[in-house]
């Protein structure tokens, strides 16, 4: 599953299969991380605005 796993072989099959999997999982992870961080920033900004008013 990972290049450091003892079963890993650097061949086309492993690169295509796991490359595709990690590419998709990477996009989902990055997308969700962005949403969570931005939501946290927006929430903090909101509470700051309310405090200053």
């Amino acid at each position: 599953m990972f290049p450091f796993s003892f079963e890993w072989i650097w061949d086309m099959g492993h690169v295509v299969f796991f490359g595709g999997l990690w590419y998709a999982v990477g996009i989902l992870g990055a997308g969700m991380t962005y949403c969570l961080l931005k939501a946290a920033c927006d929430t903090i900004n909101d509470s700051d605005n309310k405090t200053s008013h």
Partner: protein, 410 residues
């Protein structure tokens, strides 16, 4: 009792009535769960599978729910990538149906492998020469996409949305939904296709094997195409059933007409390709392997030519024609008939491509493997239906699933 959780301005049945309904369906669910635990604790001897016939009924259910769940990826593709704006009024429901279908598919696979504690082996000790490994990867990743697409709808619940963080999270997730939808379309293309590809590469099964393009047999493309064609049919059918049960109109006609029209054209193009594929297989592929067409449809008590005609003509050509013509598409009765036929058609296609393939004799000493599933198989196949009804009921009651509901029910 739960009125604070119900979307503002929406009317729902009383809580006791809702609870009674859920309890009735839960009894069916528990029956399925009991059968599932029997399969896990006592083993797959609870099924009627044997060394001669190794596919349980639930594998058909697995492929069928994945196919009808294709409405989520295709509607998402149309809404977020191709910017068909009207579909924003049905996309939430399409996602919920997709979520139910894919979680059911994963549950069925967990039963099928017999030892669910070893489910992670397919990732850790992956066979990178197997199309089913690709299916497992894409199915799991696409289920994550559907969960991500479902989350904003949950966060829009009246009480949850009052929490500022959740409110912002839902808003931000809507903002980048196109990225998730594109990833979902990519994953769906490959896992829907590979499920068909698995059949097409079975060179030892003349009923299934097909020529193709590079490493992909034609069944790869036909499976993806059929899921995109018939998935929206299923979404519209469940929407109609929900409208009948709730006694409310939930989606405007123009949205239904549009999705039905797209589905109709997809069905017509798919079924044309399917007919060409079938004729070529019957006239060239099968004879080249020493078989005639009649070998696959005679000398048994169940699989006759009727199944071919029903799948392709009655449940393929007919719904396609109904949905592409304006006069028939806008006729409520004919439209529902088309949705029902389309849904039966895609389920029948998956039946043929999974169960009939295994039933057809190949060697001269083989016999037709006509198979009756055990009650445990039936119960675990009905289990996802009960689960789906419960999840739809809860989502409809507490989440703003249909943006046009308030306007249509003043």
């Amino acid at each position: 009792m739960d009125s604070a959780l119900i979307p503002k301005g929406a009317k729902r049945c009383s809580f006791p009535k809702f609870t009674i309904g859920i309890a009735i369906v839960s009894a069916v669910l528990l029956w399925g769960v009991y059968a599932m635990f029997l399969c896990w604790f006592k083993g797959l001897n609870q099924t009627n599978m044997n060394d001669y016939y190794g596919f349980a009924l639930w594998i058909w259910a697995d492929l069928a729910v994945i196919a009808v769940g294709g409405g989520a990826f295709f509607t998402g593709l149309l809404r977020y990538i191709l910017k068909v704006d009207e579909l924003k009024n049905i996309i939430n429901f399409a996602v919920i149906i997709g979520f139910i279908c894919y979680s059911s598919a994963l549950l069925i696979l967990a039963i099928d492998i017999g030892q669910p504690l070893r489910g992670w082996f397919i990732f850790w000790h992956a066979n990178v020469h197997s199309m089913l490994t690709e299916v497992a990867f894409c199915l799991s990743a696409y289920f994550a996409v559907l969960t991500i697409e479902f989350i904003p709808n949950i966060l829009e619940n009246r009480q949850v949305n009052k929490v500022p963080f959740f409110h912002h999270l839902a808003h931000n997730m809507h903002g980048v939904m196109a990225v998730f939808a594109a990833t979902g379309a990519f994953l769906s293309f490959f896992h829907q296709g590979s499920l068909g590809g698995v059949a097409g590469v079975l060179f030892g099964r003349p009923f299934a094997v097909r020529e193709g393009l590079l490493i992909w047999p034609w069944t790869f493309f036909l499976f993806t195409w059929s899921a995109a064609a018939f998935g929206p049919c299923f979404t519209l059918l469940i929407t109609k059933i929900t409208e009948v049960i709730t006694g409310k109109k939930l989606v405007k006609d123009n949205v239904v007409y549009l999705l039905a029209k797209i589905s109709g054209w997809m069905i017509i193009t798919y079924i044309t390709a399917k007919i060409i594929d079938t004729i070529y297989w019957a006239m060239v592929t099968a004879p080249s392997l020493g078989f005639t067409l009649s070998h696959f449809y005679t000398d048994n008590s169940f699989y006759g030519y009727w199944i071919l005609v029903t799948e392709i003509i009655i449940c393929g050509v007919v719904p396609g024609l109904i949905l592409i013509m304006k006069s028939t598409r806008e006729n409520p009765t004919l439209r529902i008939i088309a949705f029902v036929l389309g849904t039966i058609g895609i389920c029948l296609n998956r039946w043929v491509m999974v169960l009939q393939i295994m039933a057809v004799p190949v060697m001269s000493f083989d016999t037709w493997a006509l198979y009756i599933p055990s009650w445990q198989e039936v119960a675990t196949t009905i289990l996802p239906v009960a689960y789906g009804i419960i999840l739809i009921a809860i989502a409809y009651r507490y989440l703003p699933v249909f943006p046009q509901e308030k306007e249509l029910n003043r």
